[in-house]
């Protein structure tokens, strides 16, 4: 059994100094921004906001400066992220590129790929989506069937992806596809990653899927003899599984894993007000206690990243705890305030209505609750 320890981390002065800058930026850009839009935060997009963040150097903050990155620490990046999320800033346009596609390209991409794609990401002008899931492959990602065949001057892709967040606005997809037939003896072999231009590639069709909260956020993506050039391959042919696992670790450790429903806590505190009874105060207090301890754990992970560690087990634990917290928030708010929110009501009603519905997806996206617990169980030596 691994020793599971989250050394308390403190943010260094340069990170705290950045906080004030970010707050001013948010105050300038998001004046009068409505509660229900804030509640969408990292699923709400605003290209102008992304560009403005890029101009400030707040996308690709930890990446090397030679590609337009900021060369700053993970702790500075952490502060920018948490401030954006706590304010409910519309950061989703560039979110995936900043969080995982950029780091993936920097780690596994060629020099040409880095020069070609990274600078535009840091400017907040280039958005990415993730093509992993398929209709018959969700948690069992290794079972995907979309395939790429070698052609004279590149690859031809056929198959289908689903649940692809933001495929309709993204410039590029990084897709996991099969480049060799499935090998029953090694299920993880024969998978490769491709960078697909979503605007220019012929044979790519995007069909939006409306979610139960009424948004059009994720999509089906069809590939019918979609031709991509040879340099669309990211990393090594057949090495896709290892790359995807690394990529998913980037996806699991950030503050978005406990701040997704922060706006509801904010509205709830406003709604309950200072003359609350003991049960209401205790309910709010429990939520605040979790918020503050989860934040410490998340900062601890940022500190481990800064030291060059890869805290995969710790990240899975924070995701398990954070997702439970943010997903339980609407239920707790219901216990405390006891309303049936109306979508035409005030901020509290609107945020409560949206969050109650949206929270169902929190324990699915980025690896389900059960899959995360499986990872933790492996860390405990149970499997």
């Amino acid at each position: 059994m691994e020793d599971i320890r989250f050394t308390p981390g403190l943010l260094p002065p340069e990170a705290e100094a950045l906080r004030a800058e970010v707050r001013t930026f948010i105050a300038d850009h998001l004046k009068g921004y409505p509660g229900v839009k804030r509640a969408k935060s990292w699923s709400g997009a605003d290209p102008e906001f992304s560009k403005a963040m890029g101009a400030r150097g707040w996308i690709g903050m930890t990446w090397p400066t030679e590609y337009g990155g900021g060369g700053r620490s993970f702790l500075e990046r952490y502060v920018v992220l948490e401030e954006m999320l706590a304010a409910g800033a519309p950061v989703s346009a560039h979110w995936v590129a900043d969080r995982q596609s950029g780091p993936l390209l920097l780690k596994f991409g060629t020099e040409d790929q880095r020069r070609k794609y990274i600078p535009a990401i840091t400017r907040g002008e280039s958005y990415f989506c993730i093509g992993m899931s398929e209709p018959n492959s969700g948690s069992d990602l290794a079972s995907i069937r979309t395939r790429a065949e070698k052609t004279a001057d590149g690859w031809r892709i056929n198959g289908q992806k689903i649940w692809t967040s933001k495929a309709h606005t993204a410039h590029h997809m990084i897709a996991l596809v099969r480049t060799r037939p499935q090998d029953p003896k090694d299920r993880h072999a024969g998978l490769s990653q491709f960078l697909i231009d979503m605007k220019e590639t012929k044979g790519v069709t995007i069909r939006p899927i409306r979610n139960m909260a009424g948004e059009q956020m994720f999509n089906e993506v069809f590939f019918e003899d979609a031709e991509v050039p040879a340099d669309a391959l990211v990393g090594t042919e057949g090495g896709g599984w290892g790359q995807v696992t690394t990529e998913l670790a980037f996806e699991r450790s950030g503050p978005e894993r406990y701040l997704s429903s922060y706006q509801l806590l904010f509205e709830l505190v406003r709604e309950i007000g200072a003359d609350a009874g003991p049960a209401e105060a205790a309910g709010i207090g429990r939520l605040a206690a979790h918020l503050s301890t989860l934040r410490q754990m998340s900062i601890s992970i940022a500190t481990m990243l800064e030291r060059g560690e890869t805290p995969n087990l710790a990240a899975a634990i924070v995701k398990e705890l954070g997702v439970a917290y943010e997903q339980d928030m609407p239920g707790k708010a219901h216990d405390i305030a006891g309303i049936s929110p109306r979508t035409g009501g005030g901020d509290f009603d609107q945020v409560m209505a949206y969050m109650t519905m949206a929270a169902r997806s929190f324990s699915l996206r980025g690896g389900t609750r059960e899959i995360m617990r499986g990872i933790i169980a492996r860390g405990l030596g149970l499997r």
Binding site: I4, R5, L10, A274, A377, G381
Partner: protein
């Protein structure tokens, strides 16, 4: 950023080893039957583990709270049946109030609630006082005054908590302290309660790690349907969830110890971190003891098996020095009084480096 200090390493090593060696099942059982484990106490005192927090010129080691965390954690992990954490906390209080710290176990009185301090003497009744009968002295804090009272100046009626740990009723009838001093601290809650909750949060985190470890071991050993029960996904998922909550409790407790070091003379903000630690520890305990017992099956329900020495303490400790409701209300009131707009700025400012 805090790493692990030299002092913390020394203390962790000593506490871990001594407690593991000396807190045997026999000692635990005997303590519950009323035998004071004098050898255990002696070895802890001889190795300087009982007064890490008191200043060196008052008989302590002058360690930081961050350093002392490991002792409290180990005390819970090993279920030390002695008032180790109470003595540590009381020693810190005495040190802050400029009172010489006596040798031997100390009993820390929670809150100060009904006690009055008038004309140089204490009156009133304190209930559930840990190890009053075994301690040489009691330490109370009443409205900023710290009093050290020899136990022969009070009347003690023995009682016990669910885990069989002494939790006595102490009657003070104009009891004369052998030393008093003033706490030069700003705090919104009785300091003894905050310190007690801090210690219990760390012990609970330790105990939860112990319970998860026992359950993981048992799951690997016990076979049903032709394989170790660890191979059943239901068991894996249950223990994964429990381990995550235990890790949260540990992180929260460690953060609270650090907050006390940073607090200086104003404990107001540190009280928040202590409150958060006690709340998440209590909530985590519910999940951890459920998972640990369920994994063990009937054997875990026997007195013979050691699991209950840990889980019964978790039940008892949840309610001591303020249960979750007490601390959650405290934080909740603060949040509500400050309003939604200050919630995030206050949170980030409080945990600033």
């Amino acid at each position: 950023m805090t790493g692990t200090s030299e002092m913390a390493n020394i203390l962790a090593e000593a506490a871990g080893r001594l407690l593991e060696d000396h807190v045997t099942r026999g000692v635990l059982g005997a303590a519950e039957d009323g035998t004071w484990p004098s050898d255990l106490w002696q070895v802890l005192e001889d190795n300087g583990l009982t007064q890490p927090l008191a200043p060196e010129d008052r008989g302590g080691r002058g360690a930081s709270f961050a350093d002392a965390f490991v002792i409290a954690f180990a005390a819970g992990r090993r279920r030390a049946p002695v008032p180790l954490v109470e003595t540590m906390a009381a020693g810190w209080l005495l040190g802050r109030a400029g009172i010489e710290v006596p040798a031997g176990p100390l009993a820390l009185i929670d809150g100060g609630g009904d006690l009055t301090f008038k004309d140089g003497a204490l009156s009133g009744v304190a209930e559930g006082v840990p190890w009053a009968a075994q301690a040489g002295h009691l330490v109370a804090e009443i409205d900023g005054t710290v009093a050290l009272i020899p136990t022969d100046a009070v009347t003690i009626t023995p009682d016990r908590n669910m885990a069989g740990e002494p939790r006595d009723t102490v009657t003070f009838a104009k009891a004369k302290p052998s030393g008093t001093g003033t706490l030069d601290l700003t705090a919104t809650l009785p300091v003894a309660r905050t310190l007690g909750a801090l210690m219990r949060a760390a012990q609970m985190a330790g105990a939860m790690e112990g319970a998860v470890t026992l359950a993981v071991q048992h799951a690997g050993d016990r076979e049903q349907f032709g394989r170790p029960i660890a191979k059943f996904q239901a068991i894996q998922q249950m223990l994964a969830r429990a381990a995550a909550r235990a890790a949260q409790a540990r992180s929260a407790a460690e953060t609270a110890f650090l907050a006390l070091d940073r607090a200086g003379d104003d404990l107001t903000d540190a009280e928040w971190d202590v409150a958060a630690a006690k709340v998440v520890a209590g909530e985590a305990a519910e999940i951890v003891y459920d998972a640990a017992h369920q994994t063990h099956g009937a054997i875990g329900f026997t007195y013979e098996h050691e699991l209950h020495f840990t889980t019964r303490r978790l039940w008892a400790w949840r309610g001591e020095f303020g249960a979750e409701t007490f601390w959650a209300q405290d934080i909740g009131r603060r949040v509500l009084a400050r309003g939604a707009d200050n919630l995030w700025p206050d949170l980030t400012a409080r945990q600033m480096g």
